[in-house]
Amino acid sequence: MSTFAVVVFPGSNCDHDAYHAMKHVLGQEARFVWHKESSLDGADAVILPGGFSYGDYLRSGAIARFSPIMGEVARFAAAGGPVLGICNGFQVLLEAGLLPGGMRRNRRLKFICEHVHLRVEQTDTPFTRLAARGRVLRIPIAHGEGNYYADPETVAALEANRQIIFRYTAPDGSRDEAWNVNGSTAAIAGLCNAARNVVGMMPHPERACEAALGSEDGRVILESAVVALAAAAAGGVEQRAAAAQP
């Protein structure tokens, strides 16, 4: 069993949802980490949850990135630890420079809460390894500032490095600007860093883990992390076992 640290910023409001999904739906260890703390206390993975950190009155995530815990999150990420930023958590990752690009207000300037369709573009990250490439997931969004922007060079680099993980598409998985719900550059709904261990996404997988809530498509993302961590742990055991041999 792996331990997931759910970071709580003042104004986080999906922290309990992420905790519930990891602990009660997926049966993992989950623990809240207050933003003023400076240690992740041995967690195996980090989730930056959704919400309105510091009210997001300035720019989403702009203040949260200065929280004491973020230094530790950056170190954890640099060491290859899996980090998932959901919605506001994604915005915090962008502001912290752990992922490239920025967020603008949604194309039509209004908050949007509804289920959207995402196509899985890449599977070699800790949060997509169980998903088939091209699979279309139905997962909710809930944001006012999810219109991802990056300049053309950055987007070209993201494409070249296969860092675009999820795109907004039509239900059948076809690219169609009408289904690019918030107007994001290249219909980007989620991306990873160059090392592929840090993933940010605007849609909320933790809201799509139980049939009672209307979709279970988010499970594959969180379960991927569980499997990735288990594999890493097993690999670690094998390595240690190998190292112990004369």
């Binding site: 003042p10 409001n13 949802d17 309105f52 039509r108 300037l109 209004k110 809460c113």
Partner: protein
Amino acid sequence: MIDQQTIEAHGLTADEYQRVLEILGREPNLTELGIFSVMWSEHCSYKSSRLHLRKLPTRGPRVLQGPGENAGAVDIGDGLAAVFKIESHNHPSFIEPYQGAATGVGGIIRDIFTMGARPVALLDSLRFGSLDEPHTRRIAEGVVAGIAGYGNSIGIPTVGGEVAFDESYAGNPLVNVFCLGIAGADALILGRAEGAGNAVYYVGAKTGRDGIHGATMASAEFDEKSEEKRPNVQVGDPFFEKLLLEACLEVMRTDALVGIQDMGAAGLTCSTCEMGARGGSGIEIDVRRVPQRESGMTPYEIMLSESQERMLFIVRPGREAEVERIFEKWDLHAVRIGQVTGDGLLRVRDGGALVAEIPAKALADEAPLYDRPASPPADLPRRQALDPGALEPPPPAEALAALLSSPQIASKRWVYRQYDHMVRTNTVVPAGMGAGVVRVKGTGRALAFAVDGNGRYCYLDPYRGAQLAVAEAARNVACAGAVPIGATNCLNFGNPERPDIMWQLARAIDGIADACRALEIPVTGGNVSLYNETDGEAVHPTPVLGVVGVIEDARRVLGRTFRRAGAAVVLLGDATPELGGSEYLKRVHGLVRGQPPALDLERERALQRLVAGAAADALIESAHDCAEGGLAVTLAECCFQSGGIGVDAAISEPSGGGDRGAAAAALFGESASRVVVSVADGREGDLLARAAEAGVGALPIGRSGGDRYRLAVGGTTMIDAAVAELERVWERGLARYFEDEAA
């Protein structure tokens, strides 16, 4: 010192001022006059309605807290309580729609967590003028954005509600917000000040000059100068309230508090004297210790400010440091501003100087009480007269399209898409689909709640209209599979000093009382909003009922849409040919006339129990209340958002029909106590047998399936249309007014 003009400017009558003199035994100073004026305002004192509100049934086996506290509470099993209330923010929302609505949300949320409950859901009941008016569109956009801005940020899902449109609300929109929270049944915290010497603390936002006399403003009519009252509207800060919410809930878990109350209307004044009065104590505070946002504020301004996101609480002796530490964790600074006393007085100091000294009970409980004259409006007989036979009905398909595209009936997606209705991952019925339903984590249960009102019905007959509001809210909850267990009400009326308005108010309260008694749904609290008038024109009398129900097995929650093709469709309840007050009359013939639908409360109760029972035993797969737009619209809504499942249904010619209006009444009449259900495979016989046993009419009318909507009356097909076509009309009905969302 206090002259006639000052007394009038504070909204006190000569009699009321005389009473102030008697209570004090001397002349009040200006601060004291201000305190009396807000506490004795209609908004805080309920002086016109209190006498009538006493008729409401407030007790029941599940009631843990009735009216009189910050919110009501009912037992939902597993040692948990549902804490809920509805409140209006009509006047501020007209003056400044975004902030008016936002602070309405913030205020009701505070009422709920003040009781020790974690707020888990919001609903709104909104009423605007006609969307053809640009001004109304601006108000509607602002109100919806304000609700979204506050609710989304603080992270409490807005899971449903209602939006209605009628010209009578053009100059005075109604913004009623309902909030529900969950608390330990034995851990409710009350707004009481007890224990002389206990510390009185202030925590939250600093006090500014915003909202001074907000409660007084909410107790007066509007005129052309109302826009000038904009500075009276407070500004909300949902982030700050989120901190306050988390910090307060954490403090409450320590058992260190004696009592707590939020500062809503009349701010520091109301919270101090109400807490003192409830606990039979006095409170002494020093306004100089109150954190202030602006310099040079007078004691008068500090006591009357309605700055948002502030709380007052009393700490048990010796626990002060512990409480302060928790607030510090959330970057909040709790300040000791005074103490509880044993003398029953609200005593306000400004440093060393005594600036006010008034018996707390006199302010809170001994406000004037009026039995205002009431008489029916002179034109009531004309309103109630209707001859449907004289109307030329349009082709049914045209009428259905007109109704589906009416903003009143059309999809509210444009609204609820702006609300985060999923946060907290408890929302088990999608927003916009009838009652709001949230599961209660850690139990197998779910809670359903609905807010309903119908100003048109009440305009035609306030007594029956109010009963119908109770019945519809409860029926909506039953359609989700829940047993209704408690209600809250928000009474929106005009100026009670006018006998016709007072008559409407009194009759409506009678209606609510009788309906709640018959349906065995106790009223645990609510709110009265009077003086909803602009330039002498009152809104339609609009009591809004919020009803809460419990579903024992969350897996049995029902939605309104058909779940599969081939299910038997059954109409439960009986129809009589009636069109009075219907959306059809308004939309198609431009009339608000006639008698609202008849209501037999015994039948209503039997129907609701039948539906909830059939849901619990999985006899039915969907249930939808037959309301505005009648059977024709209800059936269409059962098809919408189902993935395109159609319906083929037929009903017989209504008895007593024959005239030209008979088919229209059968299709679009709004007879009460009816529900359209789709039946689980092979359970039709069981359902019909149960209905017969319960004395509820049950008519198999057809089957779900195909991609067309077909409805026949008396053997003649009245409507035959593609579901996709109808759904498009319904989807665009409201959104079309807000062109930026065209897509």
